[in-house]
């Protein structure tokens, strides 16, 4: 917190002030082996007095930046908050920091730009990028992917149990007596069959459950579309059908909120059930009161960051973590009328 003017103080300044070599200062700031207590003390004093802060750029060029990058698609933003929280928690007490790189468009470019030497490791939610491409990326910098149901060798993964979570939702709705259940989800690329994205799996499980219950003919999948059809409109269209669904299974809570919006706007508040996914903070709000699947976002974020730290410490075998899910039943899942 010392205040200094002008060009910033470098490791040489500290070395000079403490009467030691730059290497010695470097060792001190990295807690490296081989520094006498006396020297350490003098160096630390000098650092303090000069208000020295190591240049991230220089460190990164030579070794580590001590930054972990979290790529966050703005989609599903509320869930990302949980991830973020967990990740920060996990790096607490380490020299590492988490920075966020918001991905607007193509995820490739955001990931590349993170890998361009800015960070020592990457946590990302990029369901659509190619596995081979990711393996390659992971060869240059440690990578943990969130929400990928693939089984890669080069990077770690953290996923929720989308099968169990979705089955719990369907069972719950069936038990309530619902038969005409629709699924409202993300645009096709993210839900393409076999793509292995969480949303693709939720969709598959939805279909499977409907079929198993002998309700295959009532299967109905609606999607929002980027920049053209917001989820609210997709939901409204669902509700305007001659025989509207009695329950809507939303791909995640943000979509569920939009579904609720459409339902309320259509004056069908107590005729259509809604279930979300992620159990974001809003779900518990009494005005929303949304039944939702909790997949431990905070824990997922923490695991992801921890895995990255392990990689940074030398682990090379891949690890894959699966978070358990819990259905939180709230007021939005009413029985059919």
């Amino acid at each position: 917190m010392s205040i200094r003017k002008g060009r910033s103080v470098t490791i040489s300044d500290v070395a000079e002030a403490a009467g030691v070599s730059r290497a010695a200062v470097s060792k001190v700031i990295r807690n490296a082996y081989g520094v006498s207590p006396g020297m350490r003390a003098r160096v630390e004093t000098a650092i303090e007095e000069l208000g020295y802060r190591p240049s991230v750029a220089a460190r990164a060029l030579r070794g580590s930046s001590y930054r972990l990058g979290l790529e966050t698609p703005h989609i599903n933003a509320r869930f990302m908050g949980q991830i973020m929280h967990g990740a920060k928690q996990a790096v607490d007490g380490t020299p590492y920091q988490v920075i966020l790189a918001p991905a607007d468009g193509p995820e490739y470019s955001t990931l590349e730009s993170l890998a361009d030497g800015l960070v020592d490791g990457i946590i990302a939610v990029s369901p659509l990028v190619d596995t081979a491409w990711l393996e390659n990326l992971a060869g240059r910098v440690p990578v943990v992917m969130l929400g990928r149901h693939d089984d890669p060798r080069g990077y770690d993964t953290v996923i929720g149990d989308d099968h169990a979570g979705t089955r719990a939702v369907m069972r719950h709705l069936f038990e309530l007596g619902h038969r005409r259940i629709a699924h409202l989800t993300e645009p096709s690329p993210v839900t393409a069959p076999g793509s292995g994205t969480p949303h693709a799996i939720r969709l598959e499980v939805y279909r499977a459950c409907m079929a198993e219950a002998g309700l295959g003919h009532l299967t109905h999948v609606a999607r929002r579309h980027d920049n053209t059809v917001p989820a609210t409109r997709a939901a409204a269209e669902l509700l305007a059908a001659p025989e509207p669904p009695t329950a809507i299974v939303a791909g995640h809570d943000d979509i569920a909120l939009d579904a609720l919006d459409a339902i309320v706007s259509a004056g069908m508040r107590d005729r259509v059930a809604v279930v979300g996914y992620d159990n974001t903070d809003l779900a518990a709000h009494p005005l929303i009161d949304l039944t939702s699947v909790d997949q431990q976002g905070v824990e997922m974020g923490a695991q992801a960051a921890t895995m990255l730290l392990e990689r940074l410490q030398g682990r090379t075998e891949p690890r894959h973590y699966i978070a358990t899910t819990t259905l939180h039943v709230r007021g939005s899942s009413i029985p059919p009328v």
Copy 2:
């Protein structure tokens, strides 16, 4: 998008492949003056073929990282989304990118760590840091501060018109007939009188309006407290009073949501009005339907980023932007019973 193995390709590799000097490659990638079309073409081809990406660390060490840092306190997260969006929009088409640095605890350290050579400029929301300290920081790297009503020379500011916004809220409530109006806001440090933070100003204006209306004796300020008293509880206490307020003016929308939570839980849904601030996306949701002050968060973010870009291009005189406010009246501001 080319895929390569092993150690990443450097500027030397490109230079060699194109049969030119490294300096030439550097000029090409920076669009600098003094490259023949022929050379440019060959270099670009080589870059493409090799999948070359400049190292951010190396560039930063020597000049710019082409990264703009946005420090975001997790408080008031929904508003930050607007800022973020605007900032990204503003850097679109420039070589710059926005990265986020979430500030958990002391803002000083997050700011420092951004300034440690990671970014070329900083946008921050740090109401509590010392002006002199900030001026110093701004001497090392361009800084734009959001929500600071001070008049600094070294950095730029972007603020909303908190006076006008809050006056609009109070006028609206008075016109509805409210007299017993409470204010629910952030913990004291951020609302300390004279601190010049947006929340301090909103509080002052609230007090002033109450006094001007001859209602000084009904002034009632409640606060949430970090980690001890959530806003929901502070609101609940307000409602439990013998003569509860008929309207609650919340410091921002997230607090307003908590107030609504408490009100609904207390079964006082149609007896207490609530007004928020920031007009976040949720305010318009029919289940929330929150009257709120719009202070153009997206525009604020865009302005902030633009100002940073201007600084990076050489501007040195400070600029200060004030966003206008608009009150969006919705269902949450009911008249007193």
